[in-house]
């Protein structure tokens, strides 16, 4: 069935060519942009237990890879500033993930056109047809995005319209069938079957400062917004055996959710309040609970030269909003709750990443302050010094009432308190030092394991030997009496002649760790970059763990083998 979409793509390119022939003048512009991405693994250990497609017929395939080709054809009118019709853009993405890297969900495996869309720009706005993305507000109700690390693409196959009828008034409406891996092609050749996974919504944003002169005079920007998202699904037969016989859930076909927000900015301050409500949405994920869902987001930030401060709080309960009531896991989600816990890039600091509790709910708090001492001050030295302090804390909700914070010992889901110090000592040497304390409730986040307390120290420094040789070195240490024991991580990275990077890392458990085996984990990679091309190859042996982005996590099993990757953007 996927060949229909290839024909559709060829048709779109043909239409673009015709438009180009008919409309273009010498000054009109048509160009093609795109990117290629390949990430591959030749495993050298048995991965049959962890591979995404463990069953025949590809059990003998010994090269796993994720491959993407993005292509966009742009047509821009030379007189676009004056014309009512300003341009067209056709986008497509070819995905070849039949034998993907380990750890992706089983339905991720497949190949075909993952995206097809045609966007027309007009004086009054924009219309897109095909696979559309978008976000309303902070994403409490709708955030359609792609994340290749997690294997997420939750676009809608339908249409989207964005208009600005008056200056400062933005209206966005969209609707379609949500992509869940290859469901569009399974249900219907063209992916336009709206009896399942259908969602639609509209968002209105009002920039009051465009209309109220007093706000402009005081350098204030006040934006009010609101959105409504609903999803449609046919009634299913979901039986539930009870003591007095068998029953069936009376499932709503339409589930609606609304959201309002206000954002005030000015004089370095940025304040946001946002509230979302979701009506009864019984799903497999929430054990077919008819309870409504709610989310409240408060954010206050202040920044001026060399100083910034951020305080945020979020309360969410039963806010998993999916287009299909029978789906769990990473796919099929319409919303993405903002994450209030830091996303560390250092290996040991990200050993215990937090996954947002969409169904059970949570209270999350974040406080950050950042200060840069100026150059030539006592603390700043010759080049300045930056210190960042951050504290994030997530707790569960009380079972009764559900608005209050669960203050019991088990109510702590996650804590992250860390300090980052960045200093450039001289023209050759700079460093970043991090101290981190975490508590991590494995029972809530992973399903079992109790509370883990861990401390991490990181020293990351860079030595600029000369214009052709730069050395970077990471030293990381983690201590946890509860779970992981003591880990050491060392990274050496050598940048040579601005194009070559040679890196090697070693990770080892040096202390007591009841769940860990005494294995050395290491990697050696060689990377070459030239212009928009980047190719790397090497050997890795990595431990298992969770790969998280935006509070959404994917389990990544242990891997060993030859890794290759290639990226090219044009």
């Amino acid at each position: 069935m996927k060949e229909y979409n290839l024909y559709l793509f060829i048709l779109m390119v043909g239409v673009m060519s015709i438009i180009n022939c008919q409309l273009s003048t010498a000054r009109d512009t048509v160009y093609v942009s795109g990117s290629v991405q390949h990430d591959g693994l030749f495993p050298t250990r048995d991965i049959s237990a962890v591979r995404t497609t463990p069953r025949a017929p590809w059990a003998k395939i010994d090269h796993l890879s994720n491959n993407y080709l993005d292509l966009s054809v742009h047509y821009l009118r030379s007189d676009s500033n004056k014309a009512r019709f300003r341009g067209l853009q056709a986008d497509t993405r070819i995905e070849l993930n039949e034998w993907p890297l380990p750890g992706y969900e089983a339905e991720f495996a497949g190949h075909g056109l993952g995206r097809l869309s045609l966007t027309a720009d007009f004086e009054w706005g924009q219309i897109s047809v095909g696979d559309v993305y978008g976000q309303f507000g902070s994403g409490l109700l709708l955030n359609l995005y792609e994340n290749r690390d997690l294997g997420i693409d939750n676009s809608l196959r339908g249409a989207k319209i964005c208009v600005e009828p008056y200056k400062g008034l933005h209206l966005t409406a969209l609707g379609g069938k949500q992509r869940r891996y290859w469901n569009c092609y399974h249900d219907h050749a063209w992916g336009w079957n709206y009896t399942q996974d259908a969602a639609m919504g509209a968002d209105l944003e009002l920039e009051l400062h465009e209309w109220i002169p007093r706000l402009q005079q005081n350098d204030l920007e006040l934006t009010l917004g609101g959105s409504y998202v609903s999803k449609y699904e046919q009634k299913d037969t979901v039986l539930v055996p009870l003591s007095d016989g068998m029953y069936m859930y009376n499932l709503p076909r339409w589930v609606g959710a609304g959201e309002v927000r206000a954002n005030l900015q000015g004089h370095g301050w940025d304040a946001l309040i946002e509230y979302a409500y979701k009506a009864n949405d019984p799903t497999k994920e929430n054990d077919y609970s008819y309870r409504s869902g709610q989310a409240l987001l408060l954010s206050l930030a202040y920044s001026r030269k060399r100083f910034s401060i951020l305080a945020q709080a979020k309360r969410s309960d039963n806010m998993s909003f999916r287009s299909s009531r029978s789906v769990r896991g990473l796919s099929g989600r319409l919303n993405l709750l903002p994450v209030f816990t830091p996303q560390h890039t250092y290996s040991l600091a990200s050993l215990y990443p937090y996954a947002t509790q969409y169904v059970g709910g949570e209270w999350a708090f974040l406080f950050e302050v950042c200060y840069t001492w100026p150059r030539k001050s006592k603390m700043g030295g010759k080049y300045g010094t930056t210190l960042k302090l951050s504290a994030a804390h997530v707790r569960g909700l009380q079972s009764e009432g559900r608005w209050a914070v669960n203050t019991t010992a088990d109510g702590t889901y996650y804590t992250d308190i860390h300090a980052d110090l960045h200093k450039k000592v001289n023209s050759h040497w700079s460093f970043n030092a991090t101290l981190l304390y975490q508590t991590y409730n494995r029972t809530v986040i992973e399903g079992e394991g109790g509370m883990v307390r861990a401390g991490v120290a990181v020293f990351d420094h860079m030595i600029h030997i000369n214009d052709n040789v730069i050395l970077r070195n990471e030293l990381q240490y983690l201590y946890s009496r509860d779970h992981a024991g003591q880990w050491l991580f060392v990274l050496l990275e050598l940048d040579l002649w601005q194009h070559w990077t040679l890196s090697g890392s070693w990770e080892y458990n040096i202390g007591f760790a009841p769940d860990e085996t005494k294995e050395h984990y290491y990697s050696a990679m060689l990377t070459y970059s030239h212009g928009a091309h980047r190719v790397s190859a090497g050997y890795i042996k990595s431990s298992d763990g969770f790969n998280c982005a935006g509070g959404v996590c994917r389990y990544q099993p242990q891997q060993e083998g030859v890794r290759m990757s290639y990226n090219f953007t044009w």
């Binding site: 049959s48 237990a49 962890v50 591979r51 463990p54 069953r55 750890g103 089983a106 409406a173 609707g175 399974h186 639609m200 919504g201 509209a202 409504y228 609903s230 449609y232 299913d236 037969t237 979901v238 039986l239 539930v240 055996p241 009870l242 003591s243 016989g245 068998m246 029953y247 069936m248 859930y249 009376n250 499932l251 709503p252 076909r253 339409w254 589930v255 609606g256 009506a279 009864n280 019984p282 497999k284 054990d287 077919y288 008819y290 029978s326 769990r328 896991g329 088990d410 029972t443 399903g447 079992e448 109790g450 769940d515 389990y555 099993p557």
Partner: protein, 267 residues
């Protein structure tokens, strides 16, 4: 006319984008009488579980509720596959058996498959074998009244540690079937992780698959129209209490789907 069209389009779009159906509390559950016809087919619910999986007791309770509903028409077999880390971690609570892992892997299970999970009659639904426990009642109801072409009865006798299983089988039309013989132990007391983070060391594991006769996929027989008697033997594994054990024989077709099964206590 154009103005009226615009109004209608606006009203329609508002209705479309603001649609919502609120179900009142007393309308959320609708009685769904169970329809069990007179076919003699018995179904097998395979429950993949692990002692470190905190939600597995919920699945076990769901399986018990189905057993209460369908009685002898349903056989529940709990399997602890070694491929999933929820079954690993403590030698004294090792409930795995090799055959469980064969079925688990066959049905697409891996180290990353969320637990608990299960299957009805080793049958796939749109290429997907494993389903979450809230789906089991629905999937079972879909299969409950399907006919069978194989008819089974069995007896099991124990002599010391050797169990001899005598199966009488006949088919509507002579055909090749695999007969799988399982030893299932009920009420095995041991550890089980619970959702609150605690471990219940007095937990009773139900319907646990302990071993199978020969290969996981059993023996291949041509079952004739007239009843034929087939015999297989099993060795009682160490630590199994024979008074809690039962024998399950399942007939599988050429696509490994269970099309009938029987369960009996050991004499």
């Amino acid at each position: 006319m154009l103005r009226i069209g615009k109004h209608i389009a606006f009203i329609l779009s508002v209705l479309l984008f603001t649609a919502c159906e609120v179900i009142s509390e007393n309308e959320r559950l609708i009685p769904a009488p169970v329809s069990v016809d007179s076919t003699e087919r018995t179904h097998v619910l395979i429950e993949f579980t692990g002692f470190r999986c905190v939600n597995c007791p919920k699945a076990s309770a769901a399986a018990e509720a189905l057993k209460q509903t369908y009685g002898e028409r349903l056989i529940v077999v709990a399997m602890h596959p070694a491929s999933n880390p929820f079954t690993q971690g403590a030698a004294q609570y090792d409930y795995t058996c090799p055959q469980a892992d064969v079925y688990y892997r066959y049905m697409g299970g891996s180290a990353t498959t969320p637990f608990p999970t299960g299957n009805i009659n080793i049958t796939d639904s749109e290429d997907r074998y494993l389903s979450d426990y809230p789906e089991w009642a629905t999937l079972l109801a879909q299969q409950m009244n399907l006919p069978t072409s194989v008819h089974l009865s069995l007896q099991a006798q124990r002599d010391s540690n050797t169990i001899t299983v005598t199966t009488t089988a006949s088919a509507d039309q002579p055909h090749d079937y695999h007969l799988v013989t399982w030893l299932v132990e009920d009420s095995v007391q041991g550890a089980q992780a619970l959702p609150d983070g605690s471990v219940d060391r007095q937990y009773y594991h139900r319907h646990m698959l302990r071993t199978a006769a020969g290969d996981a996929w059993g023996e291949n027989y041509t079952i004739p129209f007239t009843p034929v008697t087939l015999t297989s033997t099993l060795t009682l594994p160490d630590g199994c209490d024979p008074t809690h054990c039962s024998i399950v024989v399942a007939a599988l077709d050429d696509q490994n789907r269970i099309i009938n099964a029987r369960q009996t206590t050991i004499q």
